[in-house]
């Protein structure tokens, strides 16, 4: 008597694959975030190469409360900042810019001015070689060294 062999088909059970896949998608969607990964950069000078910048040898940009700016002591609109800087750089291309910000101004006010200065190569076709952002402590130290109260 012949024994008939039963054909058993091998199968991989994939019924739960959809559940697992959707669970993974939901996990990634919830935990992933499209975060900002760009910004304005600036390098701080090392101790050995820190040049002392005098206010009179530089372009002094002061951001006051409310976002208005004073350049070398006079009020200038943001659009007028780079043309003024261009005039000064024509006389001395190495002239540094000191960006001071009032403690009562906002971070956004300072960033708008810093961004404008960084656009010098595209807007006025000139490069500002040094943009210095001194902290309040550094300014006070300088004033005390110069004997200014």
């Amino acid at each position: 008597m012949k024994i008939k062999k039963k054909d058993i088909q091998s199968e991989i059970f994939t019924g739960s694959m959809a559940d697992i896949s959707f669970l993974l998608i939901i996990y990634f969607m919830i935990t992933s975030a499209f975060s900002a990964t760009r910004g304005l950069d600036f390098a701080l000078p090392e101790d050995t190469q820190t040049p002392e910048i005098k206010q009179e040898d530089s372009i002094d940009v002061h951001v006051v409360r409310g976002g208005a700016i004073e350049v070398d002591g006079s009020g200038v609109p943001l659009e007028g900042l780079l043309p003024y800087v261009a005039e000064k750089l024509k006389q001395n291309p190495d002239k540094p810019v000191i960006l001071r910000t009032d403690p009562d101004a906002t971070y956004g006010d300072m960033i708008r001015v810093f961004d404008e200065l960084r656009q010098a190569p595209s807007k006025i076709d000139m490069e500002i070689k040094t943009i210095s952002i001194p902290t309040r402590r550094e300014i006070e130290n300088l004033w005390s060294m110069l004997g200014i109260q």
């Binding site: 992933s32 910004g39 403690p103 906002t106 960033i111 961004d115 902290t135 550094e138």
Partner: protein
């Protein structure tokens, strides 16, 4: 004998799902490739700028929460590899930054702050970073558009 008429035969309704697996795997692959752990999840309105440089991936992060957050103006620090932790004094920022600079003298730092944060706080953070001999700082921003 009852005849089965054509209209009485009920065909089972089916949704074609064979391509679903392909789509699902495509989505999974996309998320796996683009997945990044965000070390600081403080929600804020970053300032907008035209000039934007790509920040290094493993840079340390110092975030300052918005003035209307609860609690307001909280400073959090992260090494760039671990989740951010709050700090309460400027001295703690100096300690944190000095430790990171001691490990890697060229360590980059990202300052992530809300547009409305008073500059006084930013000044304190920048001062702490300068005291710690940090060389490279990135001020995180969003892309400015013409409408703005």
């Amino acid at each position: 004998m009852a005849l089965i008429r054509g209209r009485d035969r009920k065909g089972a309704a089916q949704i074609f799902t064979a391509s679903m697996a392909d789509i699902v795997f495509l989505l999974i692959v996309f998320f796996v490739l683009t997945y990044k752990v965000e070390v600081d999840r403080t929600r804020m309105d970053l300032p907008d700028t035209w000039v934007r440089i790509k920040v290094p991936e493993k840079a340390a992060v110092i975030s300052i929460s918005p003035p209307d957050a609860n609690p307001p103006l909280t400073i959090r620090v992260s090494t760039g590899e671990e989740m951010s932790l709050p700090v309460s004094t400027d001295e703690e920022i100096v300690t944190f930054a000095s430790t990171e600079v001691a490990r890697n003298p060229n360590k980059e730092f990202i300052v992530k702050a809300d547009d409305a944060v008073p500059y006084e706080r930013i000044d304190a953070v920048l001062d702490a970073l300068k005291q710690s001999k940090v060389k490279f700082i990135y001020l995180l921003s969003d892309q400015k558009t013409v409408a703005e």
